[in-house]
Symmetry: C2
Subunit: 326 residues, 2 copies
């Protein structure tokens, strides 16, 4: 908290990541909407990582981690545990490098997530849906085939890779007053923070999290990494606990932290679909929800928002579930 | 049919329209997707008019018609009948020119459509939901205040304006083998056809329509403008009957016509949302449905598809209605 020691990820790492992954990822567009600006009261620029390969920013970190491996390290393949976007991202990155990807998934993972991994050439190893079983399955895999573990967020190369989204954004939209991203494990937010601080000393760096999964907020506010209480949020990408590396970076660089209610996340998600005509997943709606809840707090500012992903379940839209419940 | 007489709209009209409307409309992006190409078996380029002002290509034709008026003609305002995208488009165009827009709407039009017109500064005149009442209300309005009728599609300037979407697309993606758009009143399709024939003699021009609202297909196939039988399609933008001007143009320029089933429209709509992460309305899904139904017919071709709009009802998704029915 007090020191300004060297952070685990630097701007140079992000810059190197951007060059490393450029052949494999999309330079996603930035969208803006008059109407949304009227509603939100800010000048918002949305970095559309929902249009990224595999539909989420995770393609960036996975490619950086996979392509940073030496040929000897890479050859036996990579492994991870994830039932979400990182599983698909790592499968794609490994396929692009021509090495195997082993994905440990809980046996109750949605069938559609499994299909997505298989389609991208990943090999799935199912385990019981407990943390202990997951850890054991990953350890076993690594011992068996010598694959390298690529953690979904607590990994320097992954964080540097995720930071390239913000790096691109700052090149596409100059002189932002503020940048916002959601926090789950913290890979995206910490990469974004490092890129932002290097880009512009005065840019405010604001993290956003659901109230109902606020371990990162509590960690930041208390200055100590807090255990995650059982998260209960529709923002399924943010149910993970803040990583150690991300904690160190956010403690140092974050200017502000906003936590948002579930109803605001649903309203923000629907608003972006309706007004901007782009599909975002609930996690991506969290910073938009922060702007919705902010009232006049950020009025008139130029705000960069990372729309983290678009892998929403089209058969279960939260506003329809709500109306059914009402 | 036999002759190749002068068409009501020429390439020069579209070119002039493009310059006239440029300050007021978006140059929409073109999207492509590896995964969608795998599924559809073609090399598809999607012109995203769902990202256009008011969420549909209609902003183009309305602006061209409004800004083509002389100051004397324009001063008393413009009028139309529409409960859809043209109503919002004309309201916006009139506001941009600083003149009134009067919109005749059936009293049973969705509240959300009325709000959208009012938000854009249009004045609504309600009428009974019959063709006769609608005609009478428009005539009355014009007699009262001297407004100029801007027909939603059977109007030369409107057709020329709609053709600017294809003109832009051909500049963004060279050497297309084929271009596809949906047909309702025929404004978009006929403007697209004129632009396409001027751009590339060998480009195939293909119109797409729901089987359950196939009056344009029947007109084209028989060589005579056919009355519309009561349309019964979820593609609400295509329930109108083919206009006289569009008929003359399509009869002359169209290479092919594909009609598609309702289930394919729903599947295509969902596919675009899921894979490309963009919200399109059912009418916009009709050419995608044609590609889905086509099998190997267009395999390997470079196909331009105009995604006509994104104003879908987020509270009534057709695939959810279907699953509820099942």
């Amino acid at each position: 908290m007090s020191g300004t020691g060297k952070l685990p990820v630097t701007f140079a790492d992000i810059d190197a990541a951007a060059r490393r992954i450029a052949p494999f990822i999309h330079r996603t567009p930035v969208f803006a909407s008059h109407r949304l600006n009227e509603i939100l009261g800010v000048d918002a620029y949305f970095k559309c990582e929902n249009f990224q390969r595999i539909g989420a920013f995770k393609a960036r970190g996975a490619h950086n981690a996979v392509f940073a491996l030496s040929p000897e390290q890479a050859a036996p393949g990579v492994a991870t545990h994830s039932s979400g976007n990182h599983a698909a991202a790592l499968s794609l990155a490994a396929r692009n490098r021509g090495i195997p990807a082993y994905i440990v998934m809980p046996s109750n993972a949605p069938r559609i997530k499994m299909e997505s991994v298989r389609r991208l050439g990943g090999t799935i190893r199912l385990c019981e849906p407990t943390m202990r079983a997951r850890g054991a399955a990953v350890a076993e895999l690594i011992a068996e085939c010598g694959a390298t573990l690529i953690h979904p967020y607590d990994n320097d190369e992954v964080i540097a890779g995720q930071g390239t989204a913000a790096l691109e954004l700052f090149g596409q939209v100059p002189e932002l007053d503020m940048v916002m991203a959601p926090v789950g494990g913290g890979g995206l937010m910490s990469g974004t923070a490092v890129a932002a601080r290097a880009a512009r000393r005065k840019m405010r760096i604001v993290a956003c999290e659901p109230v109902q999964a606020d371990d990162a907020y509590r960690s930041w506010a208390s200055g100590r990494l807090q255990p995650g209480s059982p998260p209960d949020t529709i923002a399924d990408g943010l149910r993970t606990t803040l990583g150690e590396r991300a904690f160190v970076i956010l403690r140092e660089l974050l200017d502000d932290f906003v936590t948002v209610r579930e109803a605001s996340i649903v309203a923000a998600m629907r608003l972006v679909w309706e007004v901007m005509k782009v599909v975002i997943e609930p996690s991506a709606a969290v910073p938009v929800a922060a702007l919705l809840e902010a009232g006049d707090r950020f009025r008139g500012q130029r705000v960069g928002v990372i729309l983290s992903g678009g892998n929403a379940d089209l058969d279960r839209l939260p506003w329809l579930a709500e109306s059914a419940r009402a």
